[in-house]
């Protein structure tokens, strides 16, 4: 996963030519065409979002919009409150991530580094829910939120999403690998558990915490089924639900639909391009991210 290694490894002199030829063939036959196919939907999305309504139906299709219709984006923000959707997604994803990380780290510390009655039974309870698909839990949660009168509120969007066994499980596994010797000095100095947690365990858990944070945020930013169910008004919609509303109202207004998709994708793609290594590390560490 180290990007700079290509420079470090000089091609074996003996077979340099053959290796290069194989590399060229791979590049030409496998990588370039597939990379183009992989990119095509994004290019097509951007291209359509900048076309005039008439240009969308041209044959053969063109990729460069001429003239460029930026006003599709202006119209998008006029027909539906996309700024509000954006804000809602940001609030929900940030709050869920903060709550999930903080509460999971605390619980994981107790499970990994403390001895107390009932620990193993409780942890088994956490483990048992890991394999159960979200669709099982969503029905009772919907009923509970309705009963509480929380439908269409931020707490409904945030709280149930913030509490599941995953973060606790992942961080517990990570905390277990931190050697006890490292907290000796703190213990001798009379540090209590909270100080050990804060000053020894957390600073050593950067990679696990950042992987969990990235994927919790990403998952909740992109989440659809859950916010679809617990919101009913346009004002409380997240970006994904707002996109669905847009599709419901302008089913074939492709320029608008693609502008909306660009708005939903852009922040995630920009963050991804700059923080790529953390995503990749996170996946190999947690197995998260595939849907």
């Amino acid at each position: 996963m180290t990007d700079g290694d290509a420079r470090l490894e000089p091609a074996t002199r003996v077979s340099k030519n053959r290796r290069e030829r194989v590399g060229d063939i791979l590049l030409a036959v496998v990588l370039l065409p597939t990379a183009l196919i992989m990119l095509m939907p994004f290019i097509w999305m951007l291209s359509t979002s900048l076309k005039s309504v008439g240009a969308v139906f041209e044959f053969p299709p063109t990729f460069i919009p001429n003239p460029v219709h930026w006003d599709n984006y202006r119209r998008l923000f006029e027909v539906l409150p996309f700024a509000r959707f954006f804000l809602n997604s940001l609030i929900v994803a940030t709050a869920v991530t903060g709550l999930h990380i903080t509460s999971s780290a605390l619980a994981a510390y107790a499970f990994a580094r403390m001895h107390f009655p009932g620990r193993d039974a409780l942890f088994l309870g956490y483990l048992a829910t890991l394999m159960i698909p979200a669709q099982v839990v969503i029905i009772p949660n919907f009923i509970l939120l309705r009963y509480l009168g929380w439908i269409d509120t931020y707490q409904a969007l945030i709280l149930p999403a913030a509490f599941n066994a995953f973060g606790t499980f992942l961080l517990r596994q990570y905390f277990l690998t931190i050697p006890y010797e490292l907290e000796d000095a703190a213990v001798v100095d009379g540090a209590n558990h909270f100080q050990i947690f804060l000053r020894v365990i957390l600073p050593l858990s950067g990679p696990a915490l950042s992987a969990l944070a990235i994927f919790t945020f990403l998952f909740n930013w992109n989440s659809f089924l859950y916010p679809l169910i617990v919101t009913s008004s346009t004002e409380m919609s997240t970006l994904t639900v707002g996109l669905n509303t847009l599709q419901g109202q302008y089913n074939t207004a492709w320029t608008l639909l693609m502008a909306g998709s660009v708005i939903a994708l852009l922040p995630v793609l920009v963050v991804f391009i700059f923080a790529q290594r953390y995503f990749i590390k996170g996946i190999t560490m947690t197995g998260l991210g595939g849907r």
């Binding site: 496998v30 619980a107 149930p160 209590n192």
Partner: protein, 309 residues
């Protein structure tokens, strides 16, 4: 040195325990409380509740009525549920093997440290981080029967009657499979890349000296050395694929004529459009049973084909 230090740590810990067991218990539950409370309310109890609900008829307007196994018996004879189950299985079988084969190929190509590695990896991985709703919208547009990019391309290369894709009962599920393969390649690729980097290069060098050709090196080094990664990718991909929902929701609403109605889409419709909570919960438990059974079988079978060195 190390032993001595551990002993100190254990001693201090043990003395602490003897002195105030109660305090430790309180501290531990203090750490647990925020998470435990949320976990109990929003995950653990809902799981139990879902089980109870699946034995009732409940439309949320009237009181729930206990019906025993009636919902599960209804599933056994419900032709729509069988269609949905079949669609989901076809989707999984269509998506997972192709997606894994392509991603392995790409990972092997990228592991040769070609120029532009970072660019390629970014491109292949982009669909994984993208919102499924947003990319499903653009794929709906690409698959448009008359003006879509795909059919325009097919016309240009001389296909006179390209498929109607999302509006055809015959092709709609294939369209969703194609889109999903595109979306999942990057995820498996990253895992395969990590697996490939863990294969010691001296194995390949030794094989080369022994005169093994490229295919033999792939078959007798890469495949066995990558088997635990492959196993992991396979299990995760199957579990994820069984839960396909957004594609069906955004691109087709399960249509035409239920051709793309999947398990989770059907659960959504019964629970949140028809308000048959009990029946929907029973379906959700069948989904769990399927995922659980497949995972169990795979773990059993891994002994036969996964090698750990």
């Amino acid at each position: 040195m190390t032993t001595y230090k551990t002993a100190t740590s254990r001693d201090v810990r043990a003395r602490g325990r003897r002195l105030s067991k109660v305090r430790t218990l309180l501290t531990a539950y203090g750490f647990l409380l925020p998470n435990l409370l949320g976990f109990l309310i929003f995950t653990f109890l809902p799981v139990l509740a879902a089980l109870l609900i699946s034995f009732t008829n409940w439309d949320l307007l009237q009181a729930a009525e206990w019906v025993g196994f009636a919902n599960y018996r209804r599933l056994a004879t419900d032709p729509l549920f069988h269609t949905v189950l079949w669609n989901t299985v076809v989707y999984v079988l269509g998506t997972v093997p192709v997606q894994m084969a392509i991603s392995l190929l790409v990972a092997m190509a990228l592991s040769r440290r070609l120029p532009g590695l970072l660019f390629f990896r970014t491109v292949y991985f982009m669909p994984v981080v993208a919102s499924t709703v947003a990319v499903a919208l653009v794929w709906r547009w690409i698959f448009h029967a008359d003006f879509g990019l795909l059919n325009s391309f097919l016309y240009l290369i001389g296909v006179d009657n390209p498929p109607m894709w999302l509006s055809s009962t015959r092709w709609a599920l294939s369209a969703i499979i194609i889109m999903s393969i595109w979306q999942q390649i990057g995820f498996s690729m990253v895992l395969f890349l990590a697996g490939l980097q863990a294969v010691p290069s001296h194995l390949y060098e030794a094989a080369k000296i022994d005169g093994a050709n490229g295919w033999h090196r792939f078959r007798f080094i890469t495949v066995p050395m990558l088997s635990s990664t492959t196993f992991f990718v396979l299990v995760i991909s199957i579990i994820n694929s069984f839960q396909v929902f957004e594609q069906a929701f955004v691109m087709t609403q399960g249509g035409p004529a239920n051709a793309t109605n999947t398990l989770v889409f059907n659960i959504y419709r019964y629970a949140f459009q028809f308000f048959q909570m009990g029946y929907a919960a029973a379906m959700a438990w069948v989904l769990f049973a399927i995922i659980f059974a497949i995972t169990l079988v795979q773990f059993r079978m891994q002994r036969q084909w996964v090698t750990y060195d």
